[in-house]
Symmetry: C2
Subunit: 208 residues, 2 copies
DNA sequence: GTCTATAGTTGGATAGAC
DNA sequence: GTCTATCCAACTATAGAC
């Protein structure tokens, strides 16, 4: 109905596609379903995007724009000594509250690994996750008085893999307590990789 | 052409479906593609199976019939002290050599989580993995002189989640060395969960 | 048991009126 | 920019000849 600048129209359509994909799954996210969700005619989609793959690429990129903020928001709170565990626990709550979002993430990953038109998307996803984890670790480290015993990239890698494995199992078994327990274990092992830095461990000894 | 007993025909068709799904991905595994792969007419599939979902269920179950044997076969070899690490390393080799098989596993999991007709399949997959891990741990424990400090179910859970996370990352980044390193880390942390049993640790002290 | 032929859907994509 | 109408391909499933 309303005439919109193409940029806004694109955003609206990506949001609609994300809504359908989250709710109904990737397979049922058809051009028709997206158009219906957005309340526009089918032709509009092909006017704003060259083809379906372009929409799905936009959706995948939109998903990972979030994610990091959640973890960083929790960094500022709680006792530094248990900061890592605290943040990990908060993250578990976020995941549990947005199950279908995380299911969609896995659907997109798998789809990207098979579909030539989505090549590179899975690698982008992983790179974003690793960058997020790294940013988080570098933010939380000083705050908790930790310095990483191994390169921060390696810690980030382990964190991402551990979380993905735990979330995948949880998507299957719906065991919320199990997910919290698994992520708590991740938190502890991350914590174990950090050595307490002198300036913090020595009770802030006064300067001369 | 040849007239076969329906049981053999079913096996043949499942094998063909597995071949197509492994090679081309789940989305392109259509009834037509399966029929072509098996060299039979389209109607034959609907004679042997009620619908497509029944074939995919059979394929999913067929996949997990393997897997355990691989790990168990490696248990009998190597130095007991480094047995866990050795087996994990061997497993890495198996995974690397069958990338598309493991990709298909993830495709089936994700598909089962969305498709009502495949409900329960993902849970079955996970249960089988956990049972395999448990069987393996109970086989390797005594052999390496270990007794698990925590319930073996919990160890199995951690092993399965860690492996899944590592394999998923590897499916994306194709980093063979990274996968071997990640699985080696899994091996070490599993090893750390086992306490050395007295009879083995005490250099086989002679009985009176 | 096996085949051909076809029904009946649903999908992506486009042409052309407005 | 937006909509309707339509094309064409691919799919599952079935009916019925052989």
């Amino acid at each position: 109905m309303n005439r919109l600048p193409i940029e806004q129209r694109r955003d609206q359509l990506v949001a609609a596609a994300l809504a359908v994909a989250t709710r109904d799954g990737l397979e049922r996210t058809t051009m028709r379903a997206i158009a219906a969700e957005a309340g526009v005619a089918l032709g509009v989609l092909h006017y704003c995007f060259t083809d379906k793959a372009e929409i799905m690429r936009a959706v995948a990129r939109h998903i990972h724009t979030q994610g990091l903020n959640v973890a960083l928001a929790a960094v500022g709170t709680g006792d530094p000594g248990e900061l890592v565990e605290h943040v990990v626990a908060a993250y578990a709550g976020v995941v549990i509250g947005a199950r279908e979002q995380y299911l969609l993430q896995h659907e997109l990953t798998v789809a990207a690994l098979r579909d030539p038109e989505l090549t590179g998307l899975a690698a982008e996803q992983l790179a974003t996750k690793l960058a997020n984890a790294r940013t988080f670790l570098e933010a939380v480290g000083p705050r908790a008085g930790l310095v990483w015993a191994v390169p921060v990239e390696d810690v980030a890698r382990r964190v991402v893999q551990s979380i993905d494995g735990a979330v995948l199992a949880w998507l299957v078994d719906h065991d919320d307590r199990g997910l919290r327990a698994a992520l708590a274990t991740v938190g502890r092992s991350v914590r174990a990789l950090g050595q307490v830095h002198e300036r913090r461990s020595a009770e802030l000894s006064p300067l001369p």
